[in-house]
């Protein structure tokens, strides 16, 4: 590598390297900081005036999370909505995306417009809230899952994928006398697993990260973890009752809850990057 570097050395490259290094630090440091703060022991925290990086190691704060009934409940709600919501999202979106990709539908064009309009125009916060209330979905678990059943954007990603899907496979299925459902479930679905995984990851991170509507549409017993994190940040009294008999830093506790929300994303992140970014999203934007 040193040889390659020597051969390619130029001041321009050094400049590009330094600028990218600065950008890298700005992008990654908040993550590094939160993770190191979440495992920093209390004594270490109070002894130093500045905490730039890791110092000591403790899992106390993570133990505290799993000792707090509100947070246990919140993470259960988060997991439930992510799993159930994503499963429903994926089935509904893949089916509709496949349907819209069929070239010989008389009303395909109208349906396409039906899904494009909401991407540019919406009713706004209040009519949305009133719609949810009129449907009797307020304060139910299902309000965390049902309203975003299909994202038009992901629907068009799926449609673009099935547009370029080898039509001979579908034709072959038809020749063998398979029904249209049979073709979809037994032939198309199993051969689109990478795309299904991509859509699942996108919807999944969306459910896991969402907080605004959950903080409004449901009572605290159904609040997912990001909403509880927000309450803890805004209202330090939420921290009372924690860590009886031990000394804790609120900053570290907030960091630990944040870390618990970040780590699952970090785990699926390599897949996200591989499929979502380099493949389908970019392809769809290029049209």
């Amino acid at each position: 590598m040193t040889l390659a570097l020597k051969r390619k050395f130029s001041w321009g490259q050094v400049l590009v390297f330094l600028m990218l290094l600065l950008i890298f630090i700005m992008a990654a440091y908040p993550f590094f900081y939160v993770l190191s703060l979440s495992v920093m022991p209390y004594e270490q925290y109070v002894r130093q005036p500045i905490h730039i990086g890791p110092s000591g190691f403790t899992l106390t704060y993570f133990q505290e999370i799993f000792r707090d009934p509100r947070l246990i409940n919140a993470f259960q709600v988060s997991i439930a909505r992510t799993v159930i919501g994503t499963a429903l999202n994926v089935v509904v979106t893949i089916m509709a995306g496949y349907a819209l990709s069929r070239p010989d539908l008389k009303y395909g064009r109208i349906l396409t417009v039906l899904f494009i309009v909401p991407m540019f125009f919406g009713g706004g916060i209040i009519p949305y809230f009133l719609t949810i209330r009129a449907l009797g979905l307020l304060n139910t678990f299902w309000v965390l899952v049902i309203p975003g059943l299909v994202s038009p954007f992901y629907l068009f990603v799926v449609r673009a994928y099935y547009r370029s899907y080898p039509q001979e496979i579908i034709e072959a299925g038809r020749m063998d006398g398979a029904s249209q459902f049979g073709i979809f479930w037994r032939i198309v679905w199993p051969t689109s697993i990478p795309m299904i995984a991509t859509i699942a990851l996108l919807y999944g991170t969306g459910h896991w990260n969402e907080y605004f509507w959950s903080s409004i549409l449901v009572q605290p017993n159904l609040h997912p973890a990001p909403v509880i994190l927000n309450s803890i940040m805004n209202n330090r009294s939420m921290l009372q009752g924690l860590g009886l008999g031990t000394q804790l830093t609120p900053q570290s506790f907030i960091a630990a809850v944040s870390a618990t929300l970040i780590i699952p994303v970090l785990i699926v992140y390599p897949f996200l990057q591989r499929y979502v970014v380099t493949g389908i999203l970019v392809g769809s934007v290029k049209g």
Binding site: I52, A99, P147, M233
Partner: protein, 326 residues
């Protein structure tokens, strides 16, 4: 903003010859032949009809003296009264101004940042370093606004790391990032850029990868240096993508940013951080003034669609290469 990368592909129509080329297909023939296909699309159709089109019909509340007890049909028509009351509300004009200032700054900083990041990544020859930076810059896109807020609040607190560095390393004064209204505005702009630049850079990088390498070879033969190649090959090569992104982002000049601001702001910074969405939220959901709040939302939606269509029109008019969105 997370959906803006979307609708660009949706306009092209399929160039595949229909199975029945006998001309007109009647609706019941189409339905009889394709009912399983329509059935597959049905849950999605119902979902958008209820949760996207339902609220669109709900905007009629903006013209009504609405109360939940009477419902839409039982409420009286008041014309533009709600709009007049909303515009006369003392919080409206500051919120409108803040929304525009914040979103113009986000566009002015965020849009070029993503392009510059993509150009830098594209010039970087160390593969491992390029992919490391790309991985790190895209990560913020995939985390919750609440987690992003937790990070920034902690780092920028008066006793946080950034202020510690300012005091101990540079010997400066403590900066109240989160409670000084004018500095807070820049915190929001920086955080928005931090969250989205990496994601948008990937889209530009893909456009750069599609540029014919022969162009660069020819330019090198002609003696063009790297900067000249960027100026005359790379930037024109990604111009269509830049224009698409720009038109889509224009629609966000008057709306958006609710989740971010709601997670970050406090009463201390209302003077610069109270945007139309947070204003609507307080009016509608906390004071139950539904008609007023809906009027503000409709005002935003109309301006946003107008801006997108107008920008698209301008580009169509002054750009002969046909790079407009519609």
């Amino acid at each position: 903003m997370s959906y803006v990368a979307g609708p660009t592909d949706s306009v092209t129509s399929p160039k595949i010859i229909p199975l029945s080329s006998r001309g007109i297909v009647l609706w019941h023939q189409d339905l009889r032949r394709h009912w399983p296909i329509y059935l597959m699309a049905l849950p999605a159709i119902l979902s958008v009809l209820i949760f996207s089109y339902g609220p669109m019909f709900g905007v009629s509340i903006a013209f009504l003296d609405y109360s939940p007890v009477r419902g839409i049909t039982g409420s009286t028509w008041v014309g533009l009264d709600n709009f007049r009351d909303a515009f006369n509300n003392p919080f409206f004009l500051p919120a409108l101004r803040n929304t525009i200032i914040l979103n113009v700054l986000k566009l002015a900083i965020g849009f070029p940042s993503a392009i510059i990041l993509a150009l830098l990544l594209n010039e970087m020859r160390l593969r491992w370093f390029k992919s490391t930076v790309q991985t790190a810059t895209m990560l913020p896109y995939f985390i919750s606004w609440i987690v992003a807020a937790a990070m920034f609040r902690n780092l920028l607190a008066p006793d946080g790391v950034i202020n510690a560095v300012i005091r101990h390393v540079f010997g400066g004064q403590v900066i109240n990032f989160m409670s000084d209204p004018y500095i807070f505005r820049w915190v929001i702009v920086f955080q928005d850029t931090w969250k989205f630049a990496g994601y948008f850079a990937v889209i530009y990088l893909a456009a750069m990868a599609a540029i014919d390498p022969v162009l660069y070879e020819v330019a090198q033969v002609d003696g063009a240096n790297r900067l000249q190649q960027i100026r005359h090959i790379t930037l024109p090569g990604i111009a269509p993508t830049m224009i698409t992104m720009f038109v889509l982002l224009i629609g966000y000049l008057i709306q958006g940013g609710l989740e971010q601001v709601y997670a970050m702001y406090s009463v201390a910074v209302y003077s610069t951080a109270d945007i139309l969405e947070t204003f609507t939220f307080r009016l509608g959901l906390q004071q139950s003034r539904y008609g007023l709040a809906t009027a503000v939302g409709l005002f935003q939606a109309v301006i946003s669609v107008t801006l997108v269509l107008f920008t698209n029109f301008l580009i169509k008019r002054y750009n002969q290469q046909g790079q407009s969105l519609f």
